[in-house]
Symmetry: C2
Subunit: 634 residues, 2 copies
């Protein structure tokens, strides 16, 4: 029945003007005081759909993360067809663009056009729009021309990459012109993402709409490292699901996928020079990332502006995949593998740690690093280093014998020296794998990053510390004061796996409760440091590289991960890009709209509110000062 009504209205309308294809909805949305207000529609006046209204209502349109530079948003929108969008020019300053850079920009443009086309046709993971009735006449539509100008030809993302851009949209009767200026492809790519967010499919008009006038100048991220960690060892994630994650990250201008590839549970990556690792360590022969897979992921990362940062976690968190040493005459490469009762030897089953007393491990590690460096071409490298259980090593005779001989005992201090020796030897192999060049190493917080040992083993010029401990961890101010670069992944806010059941016993898991998007939004490393009495200096502020949300996978795999990651990480994305000085409330509208945008693009993001709240901005609040009517309930 609806279909028929739409048809009649549209046929009627198209006999008039092409843009008058009206909805049969009862409601229209009018912008009042930066909010779109739901209002009864007047007959004869075209209704304005809520999301179209939001495009020009509010200082930051529906952009998420909100731009950090100066922002001017027009007051009306223009209907357009995705087929009319063209990449008109790509310039690299006065020089001609290298083909690689041109290819990257064209790729970003193609992605924009695909996004717009899918939005127009209502194509998402859920299938096509039910009523796809397009009453926009192609001939009458304006051309959308995109011009890109790059300041440099850099095409590798590093911590120093300039990701800034400026974006203008202007229009006349025949053309909408989009101008993107950036110093690198990566900045331009972010601007393409902004362009896509300045458009909406308008259900009421059955048309795409773009803001008519836009100027965003000097938009750039507050932090250079904006990450998500994915653990593919506890549960395997298919290549497709990793590609989807990267795509979704690009919608949020997140730039680093920290790939926790291996752990004690499985070793799912192909190491051709030591095939025993993946043969013994993968869950099944089908659950191994081939080099072709990794190249696909790397390429997808590059075109989406996302660094793929590999971690080989060591010397703890090594188990499955390391059992074959004795059978190949290599001795015990790892110890305590699957040792019971696990609670004595590790944090969760199965146990397992490398055996640094066996010199044969360094050759094997060197081969792993070489494979990783050949595949990932890292600018920074993650060397793990968390949760070493002394009791494992201390109950292994060959290790205690070695330690007594080389380190003179088995107290904590000796174990630290033992570990320090491992770090030294393994770092040498890492540098070799990197063509004998130094590379910044990321390490998780641990006793090694404790004030007691920090300066003995680590060097702020060489080591970056990823803080996974709680925000009140006393190590944090010391790291800052000692000039270490820091990535914040404080578990009490940034662990996405918290708040679900305990997978080993009854009750909920160790880091419960669930962390709401507002917590991620408000998680400000500067505040964390100040709260710990650190006097902020420019140097310390600069040493905060950024933050990373961690998707540990004991209780999640590709089937349910998207709803746990999104849209919570979108909130973190705004913190990292825009570093807002205000609270979460001004972000609610954009968060909800952005979440719907991601869902329409096929990301299985969780819902934040009833759709009613999106259509009635400002009504979904809670005011503790108002008496509840609850005691009147019958």
């Amino acid at each position: 029945m609806r279909l028929v009504v739409l048809l009649v209205v549209c046929v009627f309308a198209s006999s008039g003007s092409a843009s008058k294809c009206e909805s049969n909805g009862v409601w229209t949305w009018l912008c009042k005081n930066e909010a779109c207000v739901k209002t009864e529609a007047t007959k004869g006046t075209p209704a304005i759909e809520v999301n179209t209204c939001k495009l020009t209502c509010g200082r930051f349109s529906s952009l998420l993360p909100k731009p950090s530079g100066t922002v001017t948003i027009g007051t009306s929108t223009i209907p357009f067809l995705p087929s009319k969008v063209q990449l008109k020019s790509v310039k690299c300053g006065s020089a001609s663009c290298p083909s690689r850079v041109k290819w990257l920009v064209e790729n970003a443009f193609n992605r924009l056009q695909n996004t717009l086309t899918n939005s127009y046709l209502g194509i998402s993971k859920k299938g096509k729009r039910k009523t796809s009735f397009f009453c926009v006449k192609e001939a009458n539509q304006r051309t959308v021309e995109v011009n890109v100008e790059l300041g440099t030809t850099h095409s590798k993302l590093t911590l120093g990459t300039d990701e800034s851009s400026s974006l203008t949209i202007g229009s006349d009767d025949s053309t909408v012109t989009v101008e993107i200026e950036a110093n690198t492809f990566f900045g331009a790519r972010h601007a393409f993402e902004s362009v896509s967010q300045l458009t909406m499919f308008d259900e009421a008009h059955d048309s795409l709409q773009i803001v008519d006038e836009v100027a965003i100048v000097g938009d750039k991220p507050a932090y250079p490292y904006r990450g998500i960690m994915l653990d593919t060892s506890r549960n395997f994630f298919s290549v497709d699901s990793i590609l989807r994650l990267i795509t979704a990250m690009s919608y949020n201008k997140m730039n680093t996928l920290h790939w926790h590839i291996t752990d004690t549970h499985s070793f799912p990556i192909e190491i051709p020079s030591v095939p025993e690792l993946h043969k013994w360590g993968s869950y099944t022969p089908e659950r191994i990332y081939s080099h072709e897979d990794v190249k696909k992921i790397m390429n997808h990362g590059l075109i989406h502006g996302v660094r793929i940062l590999p971690e080989f976690d060591q010397p703890a968190h090594c188990g499955e995949g390391w059992q074959w040493g004795p059978s190949k005459g290599m001795g015990n490469l790892a110890v305590c593998v699957k040792k019971e009762p696990w609670q004595k030897y590790c944090v969760e089953p199965p146990c397992g740690q490398l055996n640094p007393s066996n010199m044969k491990i360094y050759d094997v590690l060197g081969k792993i690093y070489k494979t990783y460096f050949d595949l990932f071409l890292p600018d920074i490298y993650h060397a793990g280093g968390d949760e070493i259980n002394i009791n494992c090593w201390n109950t292994t005779d060959e290790i205690t014998d070695y330690m007594k001989e080389k380190h003179g005992g088995v107290s904590e201090k000796h174990f630290m020296d033992f570990w320090g020796g491992f770090l030294k030897k393994s770092t040498k192999k890492i540098i070799e794998a990197n063509g004998n060049k130094e590379i910044p190493l990321i390490l998780w917080t641990s006793k090694m990053t404790d004030p007691k040992y920090l300066n003995k083993f680590l060097d702020p010029k060489k080591h970056i510390v990823q803080i996974w401990t709680a925000a009140n961890d006393k190590q944090i101010p010391n790291l800052a004061r000692n000039g270490f670069k820091m990535i914040f992944s404080t578990y009490d806010t940034l662990y996405l796996d918290c708040g679900f059941g305990n997978w080993l016993t009854e009750g909920n898991n160790w880091c419960s409760p669930y962390k709401d998007w507002k917590m991620l939004y408000m998680n400000d490393p500067v505040k964390i440091l100040k709260h710990q009495n650190v006097t902020m200096t420019d140097a310390i502020r600069k040493n905060i590289l950024g933050q990373e949300a961690a998707m540990w996978s004991e209780q999640v795999d590709e089937h349910s991960s998207e709803g746990k990651i999104w849209p919570r990480v979108s909130a973190l994305a705004e913190r990292l890009w825009s570093d807002p000085s205000h609270g979460w409330k001004p972000a609610v509208n954009r968060m909800v709209t952005h979440r719907e945008r991601m869902a329409n693009r096929g990301v299985q993001a969780d819902a934040l509110q009833p759709l009613w709240c999106q259509q009635n901005a400002g009504y979904c609040y809670y005011d503790p000062a108002i008496n509840k009517g609850e005691h009147f309930m019958i």
Copy 2:
């Protein structure tokens, strides 16, 4: 590289015997003491894949819910091809089967064959299996013959429907024979589901496997009502997503989809006789369930053994869709719609309640009921009745004027009488809509179900009470003692939306924390009643119709609902079907395998544990008596 190895092995193997297509995996699983133990494979001996091992290891194979009758499971499996599965006979006792029943059985068979084919080809929502290399020679494969014998020709699910069945699988050199006996199609359908669960795709052998000998006699559910509630008002769910939910329910032998269609937030169903309701009340013209949609859902429910139970929640929880009364000369049909500050007039924004003082509402309600009864052909009907806020009615002059006149005041007692009058009048219209026949009405717990009012307004012969309040609610023993039929949806276990963020303010939502699957598994209504000192009698036990998990949709829509529903409701399914006397531990293995099965079938179920636990049953435990090694962490 793996592909090549597999190829070589398989080509080699297929030159010998067809069933010797070997995996290149390092591991095999051997059944020891009802657990599949991961063991290093011996060269020359075909490896056994963990899920194949589980088919014959353990008293209940990988069946979930576990059968309730007598169960015998064979000790080995037979490879087979889905194309060789045939429906050989369908009998209805001595009579010939009506075409409708035959069609239903054939449909259930086709679904089985589709499930097997998809499993064989590795087809799920995630796409086809990466390495699909099938080395099973068709000519050598046994035929799988399915015979179905039904005791009756019933084809409508009611509370009295016999859902029991018996299932045997036997085999000889040429044929695997599956015999299904049931009193109704619904019982037979459950047996088909069991058959599918007695098969696995074995990655190691690249083949489907079925248990060679099975006898399950007298398998039947402990409770006749096994439900999920879906709220499509707070957020809209597409028809496709509802069909997927029904399909997933059928994998768990859940039999009732309680559809909370409307609420204050939106009115998303087409009421042709009162089109204002969906025109004003739907979120967008695209977010309306047409009658074609509902018929599709009803049909899908029937063939999957799932009752579609509609709820029109009244007289509270009515808002959007009811605003047009004054403009059509009907007066205020609802009051307090979107009234502010909402906290005074309802439990969440937007507010809204019907206006029982306006006699015109009964005509409108009658038209809604008529539409519902025509579409849903219900055997039981849900009349809502929760969370009436007196303060809303009490601040509405036309209502207080009416009450003073008709009921003599505006105290709680008078409001109860006012509501009682509404219930009486609306029930009359419901009975009219049902062709002037009585129908059991389900009502949520409220003050009306309180001991103070229960017997004044409600009748155990006519009303079923759905308990949404906490398990310690003092109403519960009184309902039981007064002979009311009960459906348990105690929020402190069965609300699936708990444990996420508060959608109105900071912190987590009202019914936090998250309810783990083990809580649902252990939620036993008999224990709840005993704990409240109810002396259990056969009559009371019989009045426990079952339980229902509720997916309220303030913070979820189709994009993330599957991970919140599954596999938690699978645990509830076993409680409702098998009513186990043991705790959750004996169910862990089957739950984990079942969750993987659902994921492979395209259900985006959440993960319970690392895949490692599935491959190493028994190792993922927690024993509080064991000293942790944590203090040894460095």
